[in-house]
């Protein structure tokens, strides 16, 4: 049971937020229903999640692998299964998803050099974001433009946040996108 109440029926203040969540995810995730205890934060965090979870400057299918790597590297459990499923629904093979684990990606033939550079960046941020060295950043710059690197940095750190919040509040969302069930 979550640490707070789960709000199934939104107040008038949150009707639009719940409607937007339902439109984007196919249903209102439990995470949003828990956030609804605080309408201000429910609105801003839901808006941000909707923005983060979709097509962007970086292909969504790869962003899902970045999210999986981030959750694993930071020991987060919230929505891991949902993102694993989403990664598959967006076209990632089981082999590629599996190779995001531990250091398997380093020698995997599933990933491009650009993708490997991002996975190294995730691991470094999880270990010590103050110590992202020239080698990691140089390899990122070879494959990604400034806007993409900003987006990737935002996705990684957003899911450090979401993973921590979900785990702390005891939220379970086995499926995030019911309209994308593959």
């Amino acid at each position: 049971m979550p640490a707070t109440a789960v709000i199934d029926v939104p107040t008038s203040e949150l009707e639009e937020t719940f409607r937007n969540a339902e439109e984007h995810f196919g249903h209102v995730p439990n995470f949003v229903k828990v956030l609804a205890n605080n309408p201000t934060f429910c609105k801003s965090l839901t808006d941000f999640m909707i923005q983060a979870l979709g097509e962007g400057r970086v292909d969504w299918a790869f962003k899902e692998l970045v999210i999986l790597k981030t959750l694993r590297a930071t020991g987060a459990y919230y929505s891991y299964g949902a993102h694993e499923k989403l990664a598959a629904d967006l076209g990632n093979s089981p082999e590629k998803i599996g190779d995001t684990n531990n250091s398997l990606w380093v020698n995997s033939d599933q990933f491009s050099d650009g993708e490997k550079a991002v996975l190294a960046y995730v691991e470094q941020i999880a270990e010590d974001p103050n110590d992202v060295g020239d080698e990691i950043w140089g390899s990122l710059l070879e494959h990604w433009d400034n806007g993409q690197l900003l987006e990737l940095s935002a996705v990684i750190t957003t899911f450090i946040n979401i993973g921590r919040m979900g785990d702390t509040l005891g939220v379970s969302d086995p499926i995030l996108f019911s309209k994308l069930v593959g």
Partner: protein, 212 residues
């Protein structure tokens, strides 16, 4: 040096410019961490609303309480950028230097500067940063004794958001603005950063001369 260019207000697109205007109205300047998000305006717009929501009184939690959580979570993450700025913000909101110092480690638990309610959320904060799976039942009991559900969401959202932005800024090498040069560190004077890279950043910052 930052890893990506800072997008200055004069070069910002309309979406980013609006974010900058909002930031300047709230914080009297456009910080470098805002300027770096100008590289992807669609992200800046949604991301910064969360921080505008945090950095104010309420809606459910006092601003000084949120500052304590920001100091605790970002100190544990060795974020010089966040800790430096929020030492100053906390002071402006009435959090004494002595109270700030006692936030390091578990000193706050026996400090005369902290109420039982503040101790409860700092204990929760430490667990969220280190291992949310290991939050003990007595920690939750203390938090729930003093705070309602709306406040708990705000507490956890504040901790999560500052874990996010501190790692975001540090990974991208966002630098403290000149206005902070000459600031005497409070928390990092009690306990140096654990990360060697962060120790280096602190050393470099301490060598900067205040800008008139």
């Amino acid at each position: 040096m930052a890893r990506l260019p800072y997008i200055e207000p004069a070069d910002a697109d309309p979406v980013t410019k609006q974010v900058y205007d909002d930031a300047e109205a709230r914080f009297e300047m456009v910080l470098n961490i805002f300027k770096i998000t100008g590289n992807a305006p669609e992200i800046a717009e949604k991301m910064w609303q969360i921080y505008f929501d945090i950095l104010q009184e309420g809606p459910s939690l006092s601003w000084p309480d949120k500052e304590l959580l920001i100091l605790k979570s970002t100190k544990m993450g060795d974020c010089l950028y966040c800790v430096t700025q929020h030492e100053v913000v906390s002071s402006r909101l009435g959090v004494s230097k002595e109270k700030q110092q006692d936030i390091v480690g578990v000193e706050y638990r026996k400090s005369e500067h902290y109420t039982p309610a503040e101790v409860a959320i700092l204990d929760l904060c430490a667990h969220v940063v280190l291992d949310p799976e290991g939050i003990p039942a007595p920690v939750w009991a203390q938090v729930k004794k003093h705070y309602d559900d709306a406040q708990i969401i705000e507490i956890v959202a504040t901790i999560g958001a500052y874990l996010q932005v501190s790692k975001f800024g540090d990974a991208l090498g966002v630098q403290l603005e000149e206005v902070w040069y000459g600031h005497e560190p409070v928390l990092f004077a009690v306990e140096a950063p654990g990360s060697k890279a962060s120790q280096h950043h602190l050393h470099e910052f301490m060598a900067k001369e205040p800008v008139a």
